[in-house]
Symmetry: C2
Subunit: 374 residues, 2 copies
Amino acid sequence: MNTLAAVEAAASTTTAVAGVRWDDGLVIVDQRRLPTDVIERRLTTVDDVADAIRTLAVRGAPAIGIAGAYGISVGLRESPPGDADTARDEIRSIEQRLAVVRPTAVNLAASLARVRSAAVAAPAASAADVAAAALAEAVRIHDEDRQATLAIGRNGAALLADRHRILTHCNTGRLATGGDGTALAVIYALEAQGRRPQVLATESRPLLQGARLTAWELEQAGIDVRLIVDSAAGAAMAAGLVDAVILGCDRVAANGDTANKIGTYQLAVLARHHGVPFYVAGPLSTFDPATPNGAAIVVEERDASEVTGFRGQQTAPATVRAWNPAFDVTPAELITAFITERGILEPPFDRSIAEALGGAAAAAGAQGRVGVAR
Amino acid sequence: MNTLAAVEAAASTTTAVAGVRWDDGLVIVDQRRLPTDVIERRLTTVDDVADAIRTLAVRGAPAIGIAGAYGISVGLRESPPGDADTARDEIRSIEQRLAVVRPTAVNLAASLARVRSAAVAAPAASAADVAAAALAEAVRIHDEDRQATLAIGRNGAALLADRHRILTHCNTGRLATGGDGTALAVIYALEAQGRRPQVLATESRPLLQGARLTAWELEQAGIDVRLIVDSAAGAAMAAGLVDAVILGCDRVAANGDTANKIGTYQLAVLARHHGVPFYVAGPLSTFDPATPNGAAIVVEERDASEVTGFRGQQTAPATVRAWNPAFDVTPAELITAFITERGILEPPFDRSIAEALGGAAAAAGAQGRVGVAR
């Protein structure tokens, strides 16, 4: 029943804001241009897809994985193969071209491998059958991510009870994932339940994902959001404006130590000082049992130019040096709980994480290194 | 001996970088244009002086006070009075025009009043005598500030012993004062003593005084400085890169609670968490015994546009709301010590501050409100 046309019809999504979606082809919102320009781009070649991922037009690990998975279908349309075997070869070739674009991010390579495996293994009489299997697997990856984000949202909303004034960091929403997001999914769930969340969004220098993306997508969704500079988070907590901090994660170690966007760690320290609960939201795919703890995570330092300027505007002397770690590591003891699609994980995290992961020492993607900036 | 020519000759300064100086007339570095353009502007009319203060071409409370004091001499040159009485009237008129430009800042009004009193009280046979007295008093104000900053630098350098890796916030240096600054004076003193300070400067959003001004002036002085985003301060402390935090103050209450640039408070919380000493540097003129504690300080909220953009570049949706307090209040218990021109003030601060102020309940300027952004 997986005819290509049927799969394509089912794949079309109707979410208001979506960083990546399939609508008779791969469509993304160009995140480099937000919030000043909302530009949807249709990616019609493998080079288009590679460029979009490389240049952060698509960002957020789940969104990148989904874009890559759909990218195989893009490639099969770009150069229609003549028969099933040619289609399988073409898929392997596309996988190789896309997997190297952001080699340190796990999601991209993993999604491409899933699509390739499914398409190669599918009983197929024609190139169209192989293409249908590839697209069906990409849709499945997208759907799983969407369902995970909805579950994260529900679980987080239940956890929060009557607390609805949320401080969040970076962007973890509909632009960054295949669904509602991670931390922002909780906020969307609160809103859907009529609980009127009030969000303080940090601007998240240096790349300003909070200002450019979170403020934009929450405003699109009609959610009460106010932007603050990163330096105002402590003052906001001291003023009693924050019931909970909720943010995402790039990699969670087996003991619960968590790598995430620079600034996450100091928000955790501030939350602890003020007795504000500090929640990390993320799908279980972000938990890496092969990374024992935060000390095993190497944090990438990025170019000084991110700190000394913004969008071509120089903000500091061009010659000044900068210290620009893209991520930091928050020790598990500062984290109140993890919000995952399989429920809330509470301390002791080594046990609750292992249980959630089914005790399996999943070795995949255990590179111990946080990828490029989200 | 206070002939106008002699006073003018003595007033000329030779500091490498000076936010405000007298060089046969009032000269400022236009801080709005730094660091991309280093433009010295000669202010030749009272309107010039008022505009420079209003538009933050001159900023930093001490620098504003000094610019205002010299502004009287600027006015006497712009419209040379015919006799001593006319000169005194003219001085009162200039004082009134300049004092209202930034009414909430204490330094400007206080400096203008000092110059007016000195000039009016001076035995003078001619307009030139009155003008000489006015300029002499402005020079005295400038010299006192310069001496205070040098003493703050010496006292801070002695306090630091072998700690030379300093994190600082906002701009508190040669641009903001009549001398070496407050927190930065300590760094200049370390450098002068051959102790090679290593500075981490926060960029200090939203107005980026750290990126635009501190990084620039420290680089000019050949000091080892690295810029960080405000969100990286906690990670820097966790990485063991910070021996001490030193920053300035806008108003210190009688109990030691301190209002300063937004972000100061959370740096204090972070320093406490990491066991890093947290020093506030400032002249005693910043201590306000008439403000009993931080609760009596009203913090100014500024326009959302400061957070939603930078230099005309929109960084967030134009319609998004922001919470933009210009200052925050750090409770005294998070402060290790104050570095002043009369020495180091240690807890209990209510006593050490009162002693430093000579027990006088100086009531001047007790408005309980922090002024406009520095």
